[in-house]
Amino acid sequence: MMDFMPSENATQAIFVARGLTKTYRLGDVEVPALRSIDLQLYRGELVVLLGPSGSGKSTLLNILGGLDAPTSGEVYYLDHKLTGASEADLTRFRREHVGFVFQFYNLIPSLTARENVAAVTEIAKSPMQPEEALQLVGLGNRLDHFPAQLSGGEQQRVAIARAVAKNPAVLLCDEPTGALDSATGVVVLEVLEMVNRELGTLTVLITHNVGIADMADRVIRLSDGRIAEERRNAHKRAAHALSW
């Protein structure tokens, strides 16, 4: 079972990470992916993670999302300790609180857009209607299409609808626009921005595009497994004003 965190900040911070370290061991070689990361993420924030390839962005996101465990250090989600939690607890955590969006969409090819969303809402506690979620991402008219019948951008929007439909507390997006052209990418980002604004969902967004960072409340730059820079945007730019 998860322990209670004895911190006073618990009410504000959704995620608190302390001394997060992740080291991959390949035979005799040690590959450090994260080196002692301290981090707090707050309710309603839109955070962009930047950094060169291999700097540890995905590793960090996966640990936050309960997909991976750090080698050392601690992560708290509200008052639940994620580090050391059992596989079943992590599964429940993902199921109830986390929405994921991936670079490669990861939709279920045998299910329609509506059913892809329904697959998640069926097992969630207080979800939206799948139609509502798809409406939100502007696909109210493509409910019964299979992934193979949708464009990449549309598939990614279905993935976002699937991620937000359960009303998660956090939305974790790993290069959601990585496989899209910039115009389509902007449409996807608009959706994320809207979800963040309307539902107040803590949104963490990994990207290689420095331009995208302008829409964030906060930008965290990773380098070589460490936080190299952390800044707040004085004024966010709207997603539709971005381009790359």
Partner: protein, 789 residues
Amino acid sequence: MRVLNRKLLRDLWHMRGQMLAIAAVIMGGVATLVISLSTYDSLVDTRDRFYSEYHLADVFDSLKRAPEPVAERLAAIPGVQRMETAVTTGVKLEVEGFPDPITGQILSLPDVGQAQLNRLYIKRGRLVRPWSTDEVVITDTFADAHHLQPGDLLTAIIHGKRKRLTVVGVAVAPEYVYQIAPGAMFPDFKRFGVLWMGRHALAAACNMEGSFNQVSLTLARHANEQDVIDRVDSILAVYGGTGAYGRKDQLSNRFLSEELKELRTMVIIFPAIFLGVAAFLLNVVLSRLIALQREQIAILKAFGYSDLAIAMHYVMMVLLLVLLGVTAGAALGTWFGWGLSHVYTETTFRFPYLDYRVQPGVVLFSLVVSALAAVSGTLVSVMRAVRLPPAEGMRPEMPVAYRTSLVERMGLKRWLSAPSRMILRHIGWRPLKSFLTVVGIACACGLMMVGNYQQGAIDFMVDVQFRQAAREDLALSLIDPTSGRALHELEALPGVRSVEGYRDVPVILRYGQYSHRAMLFGIQPEGQLHRALDRELRPVPVPPGGVVLTDHLANNMLHVKPGDVLTVEVLEGSRPVRQVPVLGITKQYLGVSAYMQKDSVNALLREGNTVTGAYLAVEPGAEAKLYAELHDRPRVLGMIANKSAIQSFYDTIGEFILFFNLVATLLAGAIGFGVVYNSARISLSERGRELASLRVLGFTRGEIAYILLGELALLTLAAIPVGFLIGIGLVGILVVAFQGELYRLPMILTPENYAMGASVVVASALLSGYLVWLRLGRLDLVAVLKTRE
């Protein structure tokens, strides 16, 4: 190329579970072939060697009695190489501590020196001493059944006279490789024995001094057997000769040949079924497995590898697999085959030794068949993959569009959860693939049913034979034809409930070019104990004035139909030849019979009310006393008690069936597991990404297992009825193939057969499901997000 080879080994290692399962399929098929062929070859070789080393005669005849000088005339027949006369008679035996009646055949050995023909292989002890009067050699079957050793005593009643005899040797005889009491259906080593004693002593015991009643001879190289037989017949006719016959009609050899013929059918049918199914499965499984390699193939092509190089790569991979499977199959087959041959020689045939060997050709053949099946399955998929332009191949094989499944369209949609819909659509997406998987699993079910079919079939045949047709408790044969009045005497014995007399006579039945040597049985037309059965297995009365034949005898041996007229050559007395119409066809699974009314046989032989034996119904509990009573009567030659005959049959065949079932179960199980496990594993490979994605979204292991295993469960369930149909079909093939003189297999499938067939599938599915469940716990959730596919 060296990198490609490393890839090959790594791929094999990575898929080792599946590879082993495929190898198990090959092993199952090959083992069946090796078992069957090596057993058959070994028995045939052993028979041939034994016959020639121990000088089995070519022509035999038995007669009433001829003075010894007649032998010289027989030896002088052109074409006769060696000739030997002997004395033989039926005996009743008593062994200390065994209450049932035992009958036997006792034969003479030369008083001095070795026999010329039909020599004995002495397994323990020695031959009888020259001119000894109380020494016997017994067959090893009888010795083993009663734990008799040289030095032990037994009592023989020869022509009504009791004689104490000392066992001095235990032997195996080429003339009695297959030992069966005259008139019996099965060998019964406890209640029938063969013995040899000195000629002088035996002749004295049965008043045959200076005479003989049996002759055996071998033929010179170019002699014509039929000519010699005719000459022997003409010489011995006046001495009560019963018609000389060649090896093919010699009882032991005839049974042996029939058994070997049946075994030969089995040798062809069983491996054909097993290897055929294994080859089919190999083809299906490999083509699916290779289909998974589609993108890798496209990438290799993009690098500039030629189609041929790529094809060779995969062919090498499956050939390695085939080699593994064939080696394992050959080893297992040799081991089981050795076991089966020995079971055969312990339950059915007696040989002094067994030349067990596996011909290299057999292994080579199975290698070629497996390789062809594997390579063709592989090439189909490889070709499909290399034909694609690399760019297209590298894209994941997405369905053009999934369609809503039939079940959903039928309006059940609202009750199906998303995972259930995934199951149905995945099955419906590639119906051919799903269908082949179902057929593959079904084949394992069918094989299992075939493997376990024997027991039920044998129970059925025994039931028909002994509870419908030959329902008597005791079949009694008399030393000579006797007046029917003797039956009253039997009826009066305590414990006898009813008596039906019969008249049997040895005959040759002829129709056109076809002939068959048999006993013609005259039975009571309205008999309640011994009855003929019609096609529907209902008892039918035998009509007067003609003969009714077992369907196999009529249709396949004599080629007659009701209305045709048979020539019946009687081999007794004045050996009359008569014309007798065929009046009907009867159903019988064990052996073949020719029945007439008893009065009609009496008329045929121009004799009065005469019987040669009787069928008795006995009060329960009165058997032992009655048997002892009858045993002591000098006119009673032999007795066959049905209950003990069936019992001994099951005793001897039990081990055989057990062995056979074990092997069939193992092989069908290996094949079944191989198919089901591969289906599950391939599904896992095909859908691993999807399932991992669902895990990331918060689905539990149980929930994604439902998607994967639900599909497996559904296919397995669908496979069971299909498997039943395949099982019925395969058993049908067996039934058509096994239509011999000794037995014809019935088309019988018991609930147990179905249960076994279904359970191999269910057990394989459960075990595979469990293994896949373990794998699902190790799904790499992170890796699946990093890659496109």
